[in-house]
Symmetry: C2
Subunit: 314 residues, 2 copies
Amino acid sequence: MIPTLHDIHQAAQRIRPYAHRTPVLTNESLNQLVGAQVFLKCENLQKAGAFKFRGACNAVYSLSDEEAARGVCTHSSGNHAQALALAARIRGIPAYLVIPNNAPSVKKNAVAGYGGQITFCEPTLEARESTLERISLATGASVVHPYNDERVIAGQGTAALELLEDYPDLDVIIVPVGGGGLLSGTSIAATETKKNIRVMAGEPEMADDAFRSMKAGEIIPSVNPKTIADGLLPSLGKLTFPIIQERVEQIVTVSEAGIIESMKFVWERAKIIIEPSAAVAVGVLWEKKVDLSGLKVGIILSGGNVDLEKLPWQ
Amino acid sequence: MIPTLHDIHQAAQRIRPYAHRTPVLTNESLNQLVGAQVFLKCENLQKAGAFKFRGACNAVYSLSDEEAARGVCTHSSGNHAQALALAARIRGIPAYLVIPNNAPSVKKNAVAGYGGQITFCEPTLEARESTLERISLATGASVVHPYNDERVIAGQGTAALELLEDYPDLDVIIVPVGGGGLLSGTSIAATETKKNIRVMAGEPEMADDAFRSMKAGEIIPSVNPKTIADGLLPSLGKLTFPIIQERVEQIVTVSEAGIIESMKFVWERAKIIIEPSAAVAVGVLWEKKVDLSGLKVGIILSGGNVDLEKLPWQ
């Protein structure tokens, strides 16, 4: 089922006691450089460091007490695993996370730090899915997919809702796209709240499956993509793709250099830590492949989980 | 003249059209680690990357049109120079900055980027002061001292005013101390707004002249201090010291390791970029030299101007 604006409003109410209402920052240097008025919705300042907490929290608090008692589970090596572990801890229920054994230790530690119960598996999609199925059957835990889940999509849409509450006269909203959870939730929230608002996504050139899927009119899975924007590796899902087809104006690809330059500029000038995946949305303006001059542009900075020991400009 | 709460309120009104009202962030990991409820007032997200813009802006907009037309000047190699250059540019008047010729090029570039007119001098206090006097006489520009100036002190006090508007039930406010502009302004704003609120400062162990001045009851200038917190090198001034003596509970010294650890923790967990000088205030909680357990503690994160190519944990 495709979530409605009503579902997103309900999600907003459900997560309000637990999630941060993140600030929206503006920066004159950025505005001048890209020739637009930019409004940065700082989901890097969200709990667990990414917008993912919204969807995970909405899913966890959508469960009945009985369902919740059996816990939640997912497979992910990234921000969704951390977000689900934290949301589960807040509700006081178990979270089982299937993590590929080659995931960086900084991510494993973060999940463990939020009290998540980790099972390692081989780094293949097949191993991840079969391990998850086994755990779900053994524990009765509810599976919470990182994006192909209407509760998750509705939760992700709440960021755009807040952004438009704060700045109702935006012309455009840009978000990064990986599996499409943030993009689909944002597109529903934005286009249902404001007629004629334009929704776009930034995607790494090196992982441009969403761009190609939009052209082809069908999901084209990405094959072994390599990009610094490690949160954007997944392909679109069956639930997210049709929403994006219907409501998103275009997907704009961004070079690796554009991602790194945008990221460093935001760190240096806006003084906030964003991860490469978040910089992809800024990169759409940075590389000026679309003419948005003079417009009011909202950007959802998706997350800020970065290994400070390994920065791309070093 | 010592600024009053009324002066600080006037400064707040004066700078409102130009300065950011910076957000206040909270972070569960930090709270747990230090055993207090911490509220981070993000002056690193202020224009020009530091609270200094408040004082500079108040000084610039306190001038009559006739005075303003002749410009402003100061000697500084740091955040005050950037702040004054930007405030002057916004008012459309010249800013003359005397900068020691050994200042890092990243700082010179920032000042030049804001349109400031730079004069280099030898890196001694004598050369700085004589060069400044010469420029002031030649141009008629008003000198705006980085902290020993009542307009500047009143401007710096506006950050605490906002923090207490957002969180009126704080028990303690902690700020870093260098020349004492932020500390004196904060202490007036806080103690005049809320009876029994405690105001403290963090100071680098390696530049502990304020700590020693408080013990001695007279200004003890720092002699060639060496600390990573390069914003906190100046000694207290004749105007700031008596205010601090009267209103500040204590100065707490923080080790270099404590500064770097606090800084990295804030970057990693709160996802914001703070400079070492700002981390000194966090370090007071981090090193637990004062028992603030269970209290509501506001911290003014003074700035975020850091050279991203040279991080202290690399």
